[in-house]
Symmetry: D2
Subunit: 350 residues, 4 copies
């Protein structure tokens, strides 16, 4: 941890807010990071505006080896969901199969046979973007709109994920805080590819982000798509492999961004942020009684699109191997009209 | 149509197969284009092997302006599906909404409110890739495997779409046959952006593809992701706008690739092909009684990944505007384990 | 039509309300038929309270021949839904099949094989009860509760269909208005079983109900489960058989109860009413611009449970054959927690 | 346990089969209980044929007090499913809500507002009938048909649950083996309504069934719908109430019918059997390595319809209160075309 200029702790004493007053802290920070009106009254995409064609074209110049790395988890019944708030894992079923085809019951001519399938799933069951309609702050949605005029049972009528369909391609930067600040798990140390990971409840502060960037030799620029690896997904995957399930990955304790990073994200004008955790921010949250306070300031106030459950391990290995932590990231969500979040297969090209 | 070296017809007399014998023609062509074993006994991805890192890196060099264009249709209840073979349009419903949030029933602290959603949909309801397990030829799946050992009710156990998750990024080329060979629709001629489109039942032959490439000044190279625009989606969209629905877009008559293009696709070593139609190949099919014979030779025999219902109109306009018909195409499918097809949001960067 | 004491018309001139003022008529009638508080402040089931154990026991005494007749439509993709308000037909898919079992891929021991299935469907896609949370009148739900405190994205928190699970068994009476007042369809006249049916837009008034009861020799009693056959489902089924689809059965023009029957239903203290139509009440509705005004007075005000898309044709034939139009009706909805409507398989025992 | 003529044990030594040879025992018993051809070559409903109109009419005569008791569990996300073989709990979501209605966004006239909902669920997620297509014995389905010709990805083409829609109403008898043979749970003894229940892994033998019938003073007759209460659901419900979840109710150890009851069920010509457990038969099964061997002999060979996850506790209390253990049972499954199992709301009238 010599890369850190100063010692940091998972839950440092210097947390600058009253832990018993989340509402007060949220109100204060929300105002500091609020981007309402910055891109006009009618804006639907928030900080994604920061990805300009120029920045995107420059990002394409980062592609050297032609490696293409998917940052998506699997979408299947083996996923982390446990039914919380009716979020199941994806249920994929077949409409036609090869076993049917060979029994000759499909009724097609000249020897053609087919298979077809359907899926039922929460839009936020696995690798996903949170759309701007996903979270409200005291009844208000992104850009100062009343929540009830934005998201009804018909979906997000204003800021649905479809409005981002063309936009999310640009410079990606991976800050591998797990690798730089964390330690390899006990028992996994000797294993091939065992790399650092942060313990659950570890709050990533601006200092950790800065130290990681410095250690990696990379700088965050306006319009960047920032990926933050904690290592929790690698840990969860080991748990699954050991027959112990996801061990609370979905909704349990987790490393993640500290509430104190809101200002840092705002100051750096990142276009979007994604992590390898279920909930982006540290859990338990940093207030005595709270539920995802960083979401509350970032999504409806800053207009920040947030990615969760991204699998950053293969990308981390590739970046570590040649020391290049920036790449072209193409990460358009499935174009579901009115979605407040949507699954995707993010691709890093390097 | 002076761009064509020789007259071509939608259903030319010179169709070199016996229209009353699809099985015979399929057997013959399947053997000609068969790639079984070409990438080893264990191969799961077929012609996607042709996208090498080198080709991908070169494709990134095609990005100039930084434009990013989604080639995805909307995923919603307004889509083209009519229930054929249990394919509905996507049903997107909410788990939580803004109207709930403001009534104070969500039970969250400090003024945070949330919206969340689920979807139920056929994996091939809108913009999609057909996976290699989607079609069988006389009981055989890609690479010579028995269909019943590949796709069961558990999904595609061998060639599921998840195996392609990292791969589909490379040089994209748009052959806008509709624009080059077709004519602007009556009534739409004067409209802004009215461009050529092919009539239903128009079979695109190798000659049309060659003529279009020549007219556009572009060459197809091995490993390319080939996009073929017919204009049918633009026509369907006009029909929807006129209150007349999709007019048979899903499964009805349509322009599309002729059965005779199988050899051309094979000879050019394209990595994947996608069109703006429901079914990729011309409909009605070119045999007296047939069902998607080009699928039958291309998917299980050639190992070709096929895209359908791609929205190529915005890309077509952009390419026509500056005469550049090649671009970086990033088109990874949603990583659904065992899927025989999967939705995606393909992104063209230029 | 000699059974009618006086001439009645589908849309009689004597409609006692101003057709241009549905709101006024609804306000007036809602007050007349309102049962709020009748069964206490906490009531969740409305007029189902009228089915007492004594009445139910007496109804069991109506069973003579032991015939059992399902009044349910089929639940499948061939149903009437067209996607209106995201209502699809049921999508039934398999998790395991016999074709899988025989290929030996299921992994079960000693020769056992299995099939299993899932379904995705709107709860009101076919034969169903409308629960008391299905309709609101000027923001108020059954028993005078604010709609937003009753039905949220979590479902009906107060009057969910589960509260009726034990209750809906009692005396059923079929009023076959189609048979008594209507005429056999042209072309169907000579067919076996061709019976009378009402034309679309035919409004069934209290006079029609009285005349039918008189013709059939049956009396409506308090606590009855009233079934009203129009014959529209038989007509729709002929249309389907002729390859012309459901012809607007779901949401189009239809015979049904007149707005003027609200008082009659209230005066007779029926426990619940069901019809063989999509929407229970006549369509187009009887006001110039309206949407289901009879629902609006009956469900939230009277507390009436309403059944739709019940298949009454087999029951009609049986009743006509021996002149007994009363029976034991057992019609508990699927016990879906929080449902505002639910499918069922209603059984008439006679 | 004095009601028992002779001591019985959960897993008695006298089990008459070789526990290491399930296949052998199954082959032997399957032949003994096989009803193939008994109701003709074309039969689709098996032992349900045993419910004659006469028996049904007589059963109606059992209704005395007019009590109506639902035997259905709740269908919701709080159910017992854990995702095994893609079986989730029901996901119920709203298409429209009261919170929407009051915000005025629904677009309906004259003050009407509406709520509507959808569900996605396995057909065997809660209270259900196993249809005759649910289980195969060495590749054969009910009545000697090859499994692959009966159940494909299109569903059960021959013996789908829809064929039973009219039939399942008749004399119900509850054998409360839990109450008669079991003991009240520790800690629950003093509680109101605490009644006997069988421990997990308790195999109910013919002797237990006979002893229970004798103790209750009831006889099983041909055509009966037999309900067997073990008490496991009451135990599971206590576990849920204590915050410990369903404790393996779905698929774990459970009391249930012994493999040795197959002959007894056959000899008594019961029409159908249901229990308050997930899997009908005792678990772990009585062979060293086995999976539901009683299903394998009963469903495809005997043609027996089997009910699972029925909530028999309220009925048990009512029967115990007045000593009447027979009643009219009306238990038609949801009419899902081609289903191999289906949910229902069974109603006991007494």
């Amino acid at each position: 941890m010599s890369v850190l200029d100063e010692p940091t702790l998972a839950r440092p004493d210097e947390f600058p807010y009253d832990r018993s007053d989340p509402a007060g802290a949220i109100a204060q920070v929300a105002e500091q990071v609020r981007n309402w009106g910055r891109w006009g009254e009618d804006d639907r995409v928030g900080t994604l505006n920061l990805i300009t064609p120029e920045r995107r074209a420059a990002a394409a110049g980062l592609v050297r080896t032609g490696e293409s790395i998917s940052l998506s988890m699997s979408f299947d019944m083996d996923g982390p969901q446990t039914g919380w708030r009716r979020r199941t894992n994806p249920v994929h079923t077949m409409l036609d199969t090869g076993t049917d085809a060979v029994t000759g019951i499909q009724g097609f001519p000249h020897g053609i046979g087919g298979a077809d399938d359907v899926i039922a799933m929460p839009l936020q069951c696995a690798t996903q973007w949170d759309g701007l309609g996903h979270i409200f702050d005291r009844g208000m949605a992104w850009n100062g709109r009343p929540a009830e005029s934005v998201v009804t049972s018909l979906g997000d009528l204003v800021t649905g994920i479809e409005h981002t369909a063309d936009l999310i391609a640009g410079r990606g930067v991976l800050l591998d805080v797990g690798r730089v600040v964390g330690e390899a798990a006990e028992g996994a140390e000797g294993a091939e590819g065992a790399v650092g990971e942060l313990p659950d409840a570890f709050a990533i502060t601006p200092a950790h982000l800065e130290a990681t960037a410095k250690a990696q030799g990379v700088e965050i620029q306006p319009g960047d798509l920032l990926l933050v690896r904690t290592g929790q997904m690698a840990r969860a995957r080991r748990s699954v492999a050991a027959g112990q399930g996801w061990s609370g990955y979905a909704g349990g304790a987790a490393p993640g961004l500290s509430f104190t990073t809101a200002g840092w994200l705002h100051a750096h004008d990142v276009a979007a942020v994604a992590t390898d955790t279920w909930g982006f921010e540290v859990r338990p949250n940093e207030f005595d009684e709270a539920f995802q306070p960083l979401h509350q300031v970032c999504i409806p106030n800053m207009g920040l699109t947030i990615g969760e459950m991204w699998d950053l391990d293969a990308l981390s290995a590739a970046c570590a191997a040649d020391g290049r932590w920036e790449f072209l990231l193409v990460a358009g969500a499935l174009r579901v009209t009115g979605a407040v979040g949507a699954p995707l297969n993010p691709i890093a090209l390097r």
